[in-house]
Structures are given as structure tokens and as C-alpha cells.
Amino acid sequence: MEDIFTIRDLNLYYGKNHALKNMDIALKKNKVTALIGPSGCGKSTFLRCLNRMNDLIENCTITGQIIYDNDNINVEKYNVIELRKKVGMVFQKPNPFPMSIYENVIYGPKCQGLTDKAILDELVEDSLKKAALWDEVKDRLNTSALSLSGGQQQRLCIARTIAMDPDVILMDEPTSALDPISTKKIEELMETLKNNYTIVIVTHSMQQAARISDYTAFFLMGEIVEYDLTDIIFSNPAQQQTEDYVTGRFG
């Protein structure tokens, strides 16, 4: 089993606030890894390191190595645009562009210069199918994306990310704003996606992490307390803090 991300001695500071402390972890390829932990403990911050989205935040310093594809991506001169093509992200609140469904999906490829309509059409169908949305929208690709329901919008965002053919899909609490049925659909989707992509998901729902992930990392106050197979974390965790958290004794 291959490691797709190797993080060594990662430290992140928001100004003086030491938000991520001495992190060492290796994420496995083609597996779903869940990041759990109480609010504000660094899960999302850590996730955003993997595609350098923390660059958008002022006053944020990151030290340490984040090794992806044999390269440390945490260096000034690393090509961030290229990174984000291979490491995509789906956000907590569905955020489709106020354009048509079709235009949303081809946004990324179009920015890369792809203009051949035949190829774009195929790409749209392929991506929407992979995101389990094709059947629901195939007759109205030119209508506004904002006319879709919350769950559909989120799947559209997933399709949009898939259209870039990434290796990794990062998900920041992707279902926390959705109803239970949409949530279930997306969880089923993740099960099929992991065959072709590596998925790293931040979630507040213990049940979700237990259901869908292969590996789980438990974050607490900026540190990774435990990282192991999900089965172990939820049946017999090694750390008392992990035990207390997953059984709901705190957090």
C-alpha cells in the first residue's frame, strides 16, 4: 500500500498562534482517510495544507515537509497551480459558480485551454456520471447550477473537481450542510470514488467517519493524537483521549 502524502514535522502558525504542531503522518493512496476531532483542533487547516489553500490566508507560516509525488510542495517555488490540478477540493457549503451546470463542470479544463466541444461534452458526461449526477441533470445541462438542490449542487462540485482528473480529492465536511438522503448518496459515491482517487475527508460525524473511511486520524488541539485503521479507532483505540472522543465523552 502506497503512501501518497508524507508529512514530516509540519508546523503551522497563524501569526503567533501555533495551530498545527509537529505533525508526522503518511496518507495512503486510493484509500479514504477521515480526519476527526473537536472544533478548532486543526483538521481543516491541515487539509488545506495539502493543496496550499492556506496561501490565501494572510500571516500564515508553514514549516516542515509535505511530500507529494516525491516533491516537497511546501516550498516557495513549487507550482501551486499544477498542484491544485492534481489535488482537488470540495468545500463544506456547496459553491457552484452562478453559471450553467455544463459551464461549471468545464470551468477547470477551460481555464487550461481546452476548447474542443466534442471533448468537453464527453468530459461533462463522464464527470457527471462519476459524481452520480448525470441521470438527474442530463436534460438540463444549460440551466443554472443554482437551480439544483443542495445535495445536487454538492455533487456538481464533486463533478467539477473530477473533471480535472485529480489524484486526490480533499473534502472539508462535504455533507454537513446537507439532508440525510443527500448525505447518504454522497457517502455511497465516496465508496466508488476511492477506486480511482485518494480521498481525505474532514468530518464532524463519528458515524460517517466509521462508515466510509479506511483510515482515521484523530486531531486534538493542533496535534494528531492517533492515526490508525478506522476499524481499530472505533473498536479498540490505543489512546484514552481517542476513546473519550469517539464515545462522546467530550468534544
Binding site: 490565501l56 459553491n95 470551468y107
Partner: protein, 272 residues
């Protein structure tokens, strides 16, 4: 209980009253101008006002051509590219303050800078530059506000897909700011048409039909001002003033409607 109900009713009726007064007031102004203006309006007058109309339109054109690109680019830079620190805050504060400065000061500045320092002729061009400076703060402010309405999550989504900042600005930000930008343009047009103090001293006087923008001329507003100062200045006396006012009003309405059509066209083009 009684007091409470009385209070609510009082507010309700006060609001109705204010609204009625406001509508009455506007109707009075417009009605008066229209009635008096129509009385004087005839084909001769329209033809003789032609140069004024053309000058006014030229002025608007120059001011917008200079100010719109400058304003939009500045706003985009300040919102999307600049580091949000004390310097940017200071600049923003200054721009906000500029929107409140009396026009006469702009007039003085234009006079000193364009006419005396740069040695430009008194002309529509100089007036256009002056007006560009007047409307720039408004345009920047409106564009910035429009950019702010774009949710940060959209920008993040675009960047997360591997788009460059440039792509994000041109494909996600600007197309959806058009509302705000056009709003700013409408406000600016209104300001330009009615402006006198700022351009009075740099535009010169009416010199027949304007053949070049580098020649002195007069706009509807400046001419109207001069008539009111010196009623004998005009051929038709003070009556001409009403007609000019009516023409001014009509132009404002036509331009605003045109801009709205442009907005509708862009909205249709992008589908929502």
C-alpha cells in the same frame, strides 16, 4: 397596550405621509419643467440646442472612457491583489472621502492642473478629464462593493480547481460584478450631466457646433447655468432655460434606459 398600538399606527401614517410628500415634490418639479418646457419647445430650439446636446454627450463619453477602465482596474487590484494592510485602508478611506468633496474644489483642481500646469486648452477634453476625476471615486466604490458581494467561497472554488488568479478575476469575479459596475456608471452619468461647478472653468463657452473635443464648448448644464445668471445671454430668455432643462431630463432618462438594456443583455448572455 394603547400606547404601543398608537405608536405603530403613528409610524405607519408618518411613513405614508412622507412618501406622498416625496412623490408630490418630485411630480411638482418634473411637472413644472415639463409644462413650462413644452410651452417653449419647438423644432428651432431643438436644432439650436444641438451643439449643446452633442457637447454633453461628448463630455459623458470622454469621462466614461477615462474613468471606467481606471476605476474597474483599481477596484479589482484593491480587492483581489493588494495586501490588505494599513496602506490600502488609507487609500480606501481617501477614496471614500473624495466622494463627498464639493464640485467647486474639483473645478479649482482641474483649472490649476489641466489648464495652468499642463497648458491644455479650455475644451471638452479638459472638462472630460475633470469629470473623470469626479466620478472615479464613485466608480471605484461601487465596483469594490460589487466585488465584495462575490462570495469568497466562489473564489476559493476557482483557485482550488487550478485556475490562476487572473482566470478567477476574469471568469468568476468580473462577469458577476456587472450589476454593481453598471450601477456605478448610471450614478456617474447622472452626475456628469448635471455638473456645472467642476467643469465651468475648463470647458469654455459655446463656440458653435463642436467640431473637435479640443475646442471650447458648453454643455446643457453649463449653458443653463449661464442663462440663469444672465437671462439676456440666451436668445429665448429665461423661457429657454425651461426647455433646456426638459431636454436635459429627457437625455438622463434615455441614457439610463439604454444602460439598463445593456445590463439586461449581459444578464441574458450569462443565463441568470
Amino acid at each position: 397596550m394603547l400606547n404601543h398600538k398608537f405608536g405603530i399606527n403613528f409610524v405607519k401614517y408618518a411613513m405614508y405621509l412622507s412618501l406622498i410628500l416625496l412623490i408630490a415634490f418630485i411630480a411638482l418639479i418634473i411637472g413644472y419643467i415639463v409644462l413650462e418646457g413644452l410651452a417653449q419647445l419647438n423644432l428651432d430650439l431643438l436644432i439650436s440646442s444641438n451643439p449643446l446636446i452633442v457637447s454633453t454627450l461628448m463630455l459623458i463619453g470622454i469621462a466614461l472612457i477615462v474613468a471606467i477602465p481606471l476605476g474597474i482596474f483599481s477596484a479589482i487590484y484593491m480587492q483581489m491583489y493588494a495586501k490588505q494592510g494599513r496602506i490600502i485602508s488609507l487609500i480606501r478611506f481617501s477614496i471614500d472621502s473624495l466622494t463627498g468633496i464639493p464640485s467647486i474644489i474639483y473645478g479649482l483642481f482641474a483649472l490649476s492642473f489641466f489648464i495652468y500646469y499642463f497648458g491644455l486648452n479650455r475644451s471638452i477634453f479638459a472638462a472630460g478629464l475633470a469629470m473623470a476625476i469626479v466620478i472615479l471615486p464613485v466608480l471605484i466604490k461601487n465596483t469594490e462593493e460589487a466585488i465584495k458581494t462575490i462570495e469568497r467561497s466562489q473564489i476559493e472554488a476557482s483557485l482550488a480547481l487550478g485556475a490562476t488568479k487572473y482566470d478567477t478575476v476574469t471568469k468568476v469575479v468580473v462577469p458577476f460584478c456587472l450589476d454593481g459596475i453598471i450601477n456605478g456608471v448610471i450614478l456617474s452619468i447622472g452626475r456628469i450631466i448635471g455638473e456645472t461647478a467642476a467643469i465651468m472653468f475648463v470647458i469654455g463657452t459655446l463656440n458653435g457646433f463642436p467640431t473637435s473635443i479640443f475646442e471650447p464648448s458648453a454643455t446643457l448644464a453649463t449653458h443653463l447655468y449661464l442663462i440663469l445668471q444672465e437671462p439676456t445671454y440666451a436668445q429665448g430668455g429665461i423661457q429657454e432655460a425651461y426647455s433646456l432643462a426638459l431636454i436635459l431630463l429627457l437625455i438622463v432618462i434615455i441614457l439610463n434606459v439604454l444602460v439598463k438594456f445593456v445590463e439586461k443583455y449581459f444578464k441574458k448572455k450569462r443565463g441568470y
